[in-house]
Amino acid sequence: MLFQLIKKQLLLLWRNPVQIFLLLGLPIILILILSIALAGFMESGSPKLELKVAWLEHEDESEQIERFINEMNALGVPAETFGDSEDMQIITMLREDIFQGEDLQEMIELNVIHEDEKADVLADDSYSGLIEVPENFTYDMLQIISEQGGERPEITLHVNQEDGIYSSVLSQILEQFDENLTTQTFLQQNGLAVDMKEMQAAASAGEQTQINQMEPISSRDYYTVAMAVFTGLYVASTIGFFATRERQDQVFDRIIVGDMSRWLYFLSILISGTIIAFIQLLFLFCFSYFVFQVSFNDILTFLITTISYAIAVGGITVLLTAISYRFKSDAIIGFFSGVVTSILAFIGGSFFPIGELSETIAHLGNLTPNGSGLSAYIQILRGSGLEDVANYLIYMISFGVVMIIVAAMSFPKRGSTR
């Protein structure tokens, strides 16, 4: 009997193209629009920098190295102590391995200029900075490293003050380089082996990492989940409307006169809401898997999360039905679908990651069933397991149970639906 009631609900939904569109078509359209339109917003954690930098070397470095090696040889110190000649090309390393290296080449356009161009470059606002390597820089630096004395040379950085953030980036790169040179000097002077190239490479290599080693998520990941949990709420109003129609058309009376327990009917609404929400979520996630490659590595946790959210939706479904039966009006369902759903979606972070605004808002969002579901799915997408999302799952199931209890208390007694 219960099966017949549930089968009938599924058939009614299947024969209702408007509701099918609302539950399956609309979220797909929203996922497509929002994930594309808000991709920049979601993935703007590290804004793309584009710097134009001029490079001015006052003296060829290879001549300075040759001079240093000759002097060392004259002093009876083997030049190999400081590595081969390539290791001594400090400036070439800075220019080619760092500024024009793999990590920064997309960010920095480096133009090598001659001294006569310097004035023009300094006047050109399109340049974020000019790096000026003084005469004898490499020779003087090698002298310092080999403890031959002398004054430590410095690279001059001319920055365009209007490009604040870009100038800062350039300064930091040079400061890092300088620190590495100091370290190298110290290690060299204490007889410790050092590979200058490796050190510089390690220092300059940028990498986008997330806290706790979580995998980053894309806008498509986010909006697939956000729209799935958002439109999942519409399952409750859809089934609630069907149930209210049954009351208005006296179909419910006919079922009761058929000597069916009203609690069986109540149960059928709960199970129908849960099953339809589950199917809807699976459909949307399957769509996103095939179209956007949005995938959950931990399938079991994903399924348990989906069932938990479906139970929460089932609870809302049966509560809306019970209230509409008690007050003999479908106004509550209209209010839920027109107003409450949007508020829950907003607070729960379905429109944008509102929780990033503050911890309080994030906590408030997680108190909504959709917000809790969203957080659980996002965590799974970032590589978390069942234990990590257990709190969300317990909350969603508890929310569903509370809804069911309130619904059972509200569901009218015999004859009160007329």
């Binding site: 058309d249 058929g258 007329r418």
Partner: protein
């Protein structure tokens, strides 16, 4: 077989049914007549076990069914006032669904579905969605669903509301046939007195929650045995003429409907010549003037001073 004993039902401040007593014997068609708001649907809902009365008892085969409605529910088929069907499902899907609600299964269910389709004349439309049906076809299916489990008693709450005359005639004939051929007991509510007059063996007339008359058609019409029902027809009326009729000491009731005025007068009084004089006085072109046999409508008019459809 089925009894309502001193039933009252109160909805907050409104007393919808007041001390109603009814009995229904096996194989008879009982009519419940009254205008909208008379309390017919409330009485039917109590009879169908859908609502509990505020006071009184409902007895089926001498057993109270208020707290244990199952035996009565198995014995009744209810045709609600609304089209209690799923428009998005086909005729057959509706019948199969409700058949299962009535615990019918397998070949027995299929057989009953075929029989019902035959009975209501929708065999050719078994695969059609109910949404595509005319009002009359929906009403027929609405009745068919109530008969799936072959009930002993068919309770029909205004089953012909909003349908065309052909469909109404089809439904009335079907009810008559069910009663004659299958000895099915029928409780039929309507505010169309001609339906009740045509179908029913016994009649209960309700108004504003009260039972105002009951008995066979003949017994009820006997209420007017000491009265004459005079019908006057003319092209148009004069308000002064109507006022004079209403003020006449020998006329107990005056009801104007379109081109006809119905008067209730004592049998011993002959007003024909006086009425003719009055029409001449007010320049009314009289078309007909005659004493007619009393109808249930006339009885209701006599008892309440209002027409059934007022």
């Amino acid at each position: 077989m089925l009894e309502l004993v001193d039933i009252s039902k109160r909805f907050k401040k409104i007393e919808a049914v007041k001390s109603l007593n009814m009995f229904i014997e096996q194989g008879e068609i009982v009519g419940l007549l009254g205008p909208n708001g008379a309390g017919k649907s409330t009485a039917i809902s109590i009879l169908s076990t859908l609502i509990e009365p505020t006071q009184g008892d409902v007895r089926f085969l001498k057993e109270s069914v208020i707290k244990k409605p199952a035996p009565l529910r198995k014995a009744i088929g209810v045709v609600p006032q609304e089209i209690a069907l799923y428009p998005q499902l086909s005729t057959e899907e509706n019948l199969l669904f409700f058949g299962r609600i009535y615990r019918l299964k397998g070949s027995k269910l299929k057989q009953r579905v075929n029989e019902i389709l035959e009975l209501i004349g929708l065999t050719e439309k078994r695969k059609a969605l109910v949404d595509s049906f005319s009002g009359g076809m929906k009403r027929r299916l609405n009745i068919g669903v109530a008969m799936l489990h072959n009930p002993q008693i068919l309770i029909m709450d205004e089953p012909t509301v909003g349908i065309d005359p052909q469909s109404r005639s089809y439904i009335l004939e079907t009810v008559k046939r069910l009663n004659k051929e299958h000895q099915m007991t029928v409780v039929y509510t309507s505010h169309y007195m001609e339906e009740v007059d045509y179908l029913c063996d016994r009649i209960y007339i309700m108004d504003q929650g009260n039972l105002i008359a009951s008995g066979t058609k003949e017994e009820i019409k006997q209420i007017l045995s000491s009265e004459n029902t005079i019908s006057i027809q003319a092209d148009r009326w004069n308000s002064k003429f109507i006022a004079q009729l209403k003020g006449h000491e020998s006329i107990t009731k005056v009801h104007v409907e379109g081109d006809e005025i119905t008067l209730i007068t004592p049998k011993e009084v002959n007003l024909f010549s006086e009425i003719i004089s009055m029409t001449e006085e007010y320049g009314i072109a009289l078309r007909s003037l005659h004493v007619k046999s009393p109808t249930l409508e006339d009885v209701f008019l006599h008892l309440t001073g209002r027409a059934l459809r007022d």
